[in-house]
Subunit: 346 residues, 2 copies
Amino acid sequence: MSRQAPTLEDVAREAGVSRATVSRVVNGVRNVDPAIQEQVQRAIERTGYAPNRAARSLVTRRAETIALVVSGAGGGPEESQEAFAARVFADPFFGRVVAGVVGFLRPRSMHPVLMFAESADDRHEVLTYLRQGRADGALVVSTHPDDPLPTLLAAAHLPSVLFARPTPPVPLSYVDLDHRDGGRLAAQRLLERGCRRPATVAGPLAVPASQERLAGFRDTMARGGHPYVPVAEGGFTLDSGIAAMARLLAEHPDVDGVFAANDLMAQGVCQLLRERGRRVPDDVAVIGFDDSGIALSCRPPLTTVRQPVEQMAAEMARLLDQHIRGERTEATSVVFDPELVVRETA
Amino acid sequence: MSRQAPTLEDVAREAGVSRATVSRVVNGVRNVDPAIQEQVQRAIERTGYAPNRAARSLVTRRAETIALVVSGAGGGPEESQEAFAARVFADPFFGRVVAGVVGFLRPRSMHPVLMFAESADDRHEVLTYLRQGRADGALVVSTHPDDPLPTLLAAAHLPSVLFARPTPPVPLSYVDLDHRDGGRLAAQRLLERGCRRPATVAGPLAVPASQERLAGFRDTMARGGHPYVPVAEGGFTLDSGIAAMARLLAEHPDVDGVFAANDLMAQGVCQLLRERGRRVPDDVAVIGFDDSGIALSCRPPLTTVRQPVEQMAAEMARLLDQHIRGERTEATSVVFDPELVVRETA
DNA sequence: GAGTGGAGGGAGAGCGCTCTATACGGTGTC
DNA sequence: GACACCGTATAGAGCGCTCTCCCTCCACTC
């Protein structure tokens, strides 16, 4: 930027009006004579004026920016942010969150600031960022159930919306999925296919969503005449899915239907089954969860319980927007319904 | 935020000094009496002061923010931003870029603003964003070789750094990989293993990097006694890898070594080979490119040419930082060397 | 023709910060 | 003892914008 950027003053001089009038035209407020409006518009083009956001923010007290925070639960800096970021993006889930948020923000000419909060320092950084007014609010996706960030945010009265209900009750809005119902859908499908030996690879049981999916699955299985369902706990990763399935198979070699709590683990389940000579779905039916890109790229394509992550993320952004504008003062929650997507594995 | 946030003025009053002194303490400049410094520090804590960034930016003319732009080459809005964002994140490559950028930014308490520019409107938006001073510069990752954004950025004299050399020469700094050398490494490995019928699944030939990888591969193969190497063009996606390999196999059923221009396609190649009853690596050796997470999660794990994406992204951020601070005025380029990572497929 | 009201435009006061110019006190020099 | 000088603190002028008054002009009414 060689020369000084043009200011309102410059445009005003160029158009022969006052600063206030130009400001009115730029912001499209109040009644401005169409002729003058036109005149100002041309002056803006001639000068190549772009309003200085810092100056505007200073008076409006709005950054017109929101933070998208991916939050862990670490205390110290045991993992570098870089490693944390890499790990987060390994799961296609987060890309979908970004897509959903961007889908809402784009029409409003807003863009999210990406932040990773894994250590206590990082969390402090997020708080400071918001308190400095660099962002008007935060969208928080916790990767860990007892993430302290939501509590901090609520205590500081910083507008925030969470993805998934926080474990300790926090007065913040959140969006969530009816995970229990998702587990039910998977069980129903397996039952309909006539499975006699169902089993499940659950997510980390410390995560409420995992608990719910498992509960829904067990529940429906019990009603279907299967009071006991073998469970192996996984960690939502490919490897943990493979390992969990190996344990399941060792104890129950006759298993003929598996519900994995996410697609990544379902992929691992399929891999292991194939390695052990089982055909999917002929010998063993497999159902995943999420309906991420993996479900489609997996061979064969996964039957899975769809979680409308993009929609949920967009809703988060919408709620945050309302909180920021003061159109909504009380915390609320929006719960989405899962949907079974039948492909080839079940 | 119920009550007004404390300002410098408030802290100054609390500490019994002037605004300027508090400012100096906050910014750690010049000589301030240690006793007063301490006194101010306490006042800051007592009031819970956080400097207003808009006010600071207004005078420093720095947003202390950079934009991370993922750019396509579309003209109109033929694809929604949301779809574009989702597509971008499907490739683990971008997550690595984010990780690298964050790795550089974090120690500086900076956070990237994420932008997607697929349409002409989006590009205009990026330009405006920067011209408004909301970000001091842009890191651009183009997904398409003739992306118009770099040219626009250069013309507007907006500090920017690119990932990969732009096709039309543009006076902007960039980081890149020696793709040709990467192709060479793959060929060498295949030759060392004694492959007699090599073939390659290239990336889109419109992309310079694809061309280079292919050229390096062919070159070394030619020196190794294979003047002709069958080529099938792919699109860097899983499906395109599968399709390309199918074509290759149809015409050259005796192929015993394949170099795929990225890991995603290599995964597809492996899948198809297995479906067709070929063992990997016993019957056919496969080498990928990137060394993304896929290379590890693939079964068997991929031998691949490593592209140090995180380092490259961090270097982009470093260069941009220098350009913004005015420590570097001329455009430069930094080219990284690829590295062969031997796992199980070759 | 004075009074009224509404619409369009301008003046000017900040928003909270940085930074230059300046004041001030103490030390060292001749 | 006058002067220079240095280190430290202050005063105050903006940075570019929004927004609240307030003024002017004109149509309309009675």
